[in-house]
């Protein structure tokens, strides 16, 4: 097989994506691309449409017009579980842990997606069941160790302090072994010290798991620190894109954020 020039597709590409909720133009002709291995940031003031973009990518909402491609394949309007199974994982702005289950069980639920045994083996606990369950458990524990939650493994997920719950969600997303990880405001509600720890964690998993990561934040500190590529939105549309330096002095960005600050 010849190693002829293979054009590497961007991991994620949005092409003129629009989304209307009734009369509200929530996403306005958004186009951008994230290359493989990037750690990129999606910023913008509250209500800019950032989470909506995640929802469109993962098939939670249908796109009104436009296309979304993952590794070169069109995933526009594909049904959610298929999108996830093709290699995308996400965390949530408002946390969506399984509160009634333990910390470990939360991760195992995600981890099992990459392991197999048949219904009969599940009903009889014979055959591969023992071996596979053990693997799921140990892999999940390893991920918990990675995010520093191993001691909490048997606690109810809902009893964790807020910052730990956010880490759990990240561990759970990692258990899906994604190629693209979408983090939705992972630092929301954290104090500055926790944000620093989170920065380290995100950079570490970016390196160790060879992931492409897209982080939504509306606080500048996290994203400016760790993301070499930043996309900035306001009112559903792209207003700036580039490196932290490009973004920092960009007049449109300042207007978007300053405007918000004045209101506060």
């Amino acid at each position: 097989m010849s190693a002829a020039a293979v054009v590497e597709h961007p991991v994620l590409e949005l092409e003129s994506v629009n989304k209307f909720f009734g009369g509200v133009h929530a996403v306005n002709d958004m186009s951008f691309a994230i290359q493989k291995g990037e750690l990129a940031g999606l910023i913008g003031p509250n209500g800019a449409g950032k989470t909506t973009i995640f929802n469109l990518i993962t098939g939670v909402y249908p796109v009104s017009t436009g296309h979304i491609a993952f590794k070169g394949n069109d995933i526009t309007n594909q049904v959610t579980h298929k999108v996830i199974n093709s290699g995308i994982a996400r965390t949530f702005q408002n946390l969506r842990l399984f509160k009634g289950s333990t910390v470990l069980e939360n991760v195992m639920t995600a981890c099992q997606q990459h392991h197999k045994y048949t219904l009969i083996e599940a009903a009889t606990h014979m055959g591969r069941w023992g071996r596979v369950e053990k693997a799921i458990r140990s892999e999940s524990m390893a991920l918990l160790e990675r995010v520093g939650l191993a001691q909490e493994a048997n606690r109810g997920a809902g009893t964790l302090p807020y910052g730990h719950q956010r880490r759990l969600e990240i561990a759970r997303a990692l258990a899906l072994e994604p190629e693209l990880l979408l983090l939705d405001e992972p630092a929301a509600g954290m104090n500055p010290e926790e944000v620093l720890d989170l920065n380290d964690l995100i950079q570490a998993i970016h390196k160790d798991f060879h992931l492409t990561i897209l982080v939504i934040e509306h606080h500048m500190e996290l994203v400016m620190e760790i993301c070499p590529h930043i996309v900035c939105m306001n009112f559903g549309a792209l207003i700036a894109e580039g490196s932290p330096d490009d973004i920092q002095g960009h007049p449109e960005v300042l207007k978007a954020y300053l405007g918000e600050e004045v209101e506060e």
Partner: protein
């Protein structure tokens, strides 16, 4: 032609009784977002109170009616305070309210089984049932016309209450968003009690007419299932929807019974339910509360 008109009037009459029940049920749903399966119990309370008032207390129909309406209203408030409030204050899981309402439905029904016995009772014939000739085209019973008129009066009264009074406005605000209504200064506890009172009252009116139509027995509340179906068809939480759904249901039932078979009538009711839920779960006028991700 005569039979068709007859069945239509029958259908509208039955539908209007269903409407009284369905509207009360939808009213509670619009505020608290849960299905009060005990609603049938209020109907039964109304029926038995009326019977008691007519027979034992010797009241005339107007007094007995008022007595039973108020009584049912208070029964509804009691149900809410005893069973639902403690759960509502503890958790936001409406499933528990659902199950509790199922339990209350059984409790109320069986209180009457124990107190009044399970046998069928006929109400004294205070509501005339003699045949009436409608414009020379069809014959129907005075009862049907009276129940239709009464339903219109009460539903009209409800409409005026909701649109022209302060509490009515509060209820409409609460139906939109209970929490915000509370933050705007509405006394939520009192509002909920009021809503239940109205709901019980309307159910009692329906209960009285149904007891005359079908005789009174503790399980009469089961007919509320049909009112639920009507409320769902019209759209859970929508009052005009409940009325429209009820009329559709009443008409379907009567037309089926008249032209197809009496046996199939209930089957048609439930088929309509399933069809509605499959094709358009929010019903004709219901609001679709999407979940924010």
């Amino acid at each position: 032609m005569g039979t068709l008109l007859q069945q239509v009037i029958n259908g509208l009459s039955l539908g209007s009784v269903y409407a009284l029940i369905a509207v009360g049920y939808s009213l509670v749903y619009s505020i608290l977002l849960f299905s009060n399966f005990a609603h049938g119990g209020f109907l039964v309370v109304g029926g038995y109170l009326c019977y008691f008032a007519l027979n034992t207390l010797g009241m005339n129909i107007w007094l007995a009616g008022a007595f039973s309406l108020v009584g049912a209203g208070f029964a509804a408030i009691a149900t809410e305070r005893l069973a639902y409030k403690p759960i509502r204050e503890r958790t936001s899981v409406t499933l528990y309210l659902l199950i509790a309402s199922m339990g209350m439905s059984i409790v109320i029904e069986n209180i009457f089984v124990v107190i009044a016995g399970g046998r069928f009772r006929a109400l004294p014939p205070v509501i005339p049932t003699n045949p009436v000739n409608v414009f020379g085209l069809a014959t129907t019973s005075a009862f049907d016309i009276i129940s239709l008129v009464t339903a219109v009066v009460f539903l009209g009264g409800l409409q005026i209450f909701l649109t022209k009074t302060k509490w009515g406005l509060a209820i409409r605000a609460a139906a939109y968003n209970l929490r915000i209504a509370g933050l705007m200064g509405v006394n939520v506890a009192r509002l909920i009690s009021l809503v239940f009172f109205v709901s019980g009252l309307l159910a009692a009116v329906g209960g009285i007419f149904l007891s005359v139509r079908y005789t009174l027995y503790p399980q009469l509340g089961m007919i509320t299932i049909k009112a639920f179906v009507a409320a769902v068809i019209g759209g859970l939480g929508s009052l005009p929807g409940a009325v429209v759904g009820s009329l559709i249901l009443g008409l379907s039932e009567m037309l089926t019974a008249g032209f197809l078979s009496s046996q199939l009538r209930d089957l048609v009711v439930f088929s309509l339910l399933v069809v509605t839920l499959v094709i358009r779960p929010t019903g004709l006028f219901g609001k679709n509360v999407g979940e924010k991700v």
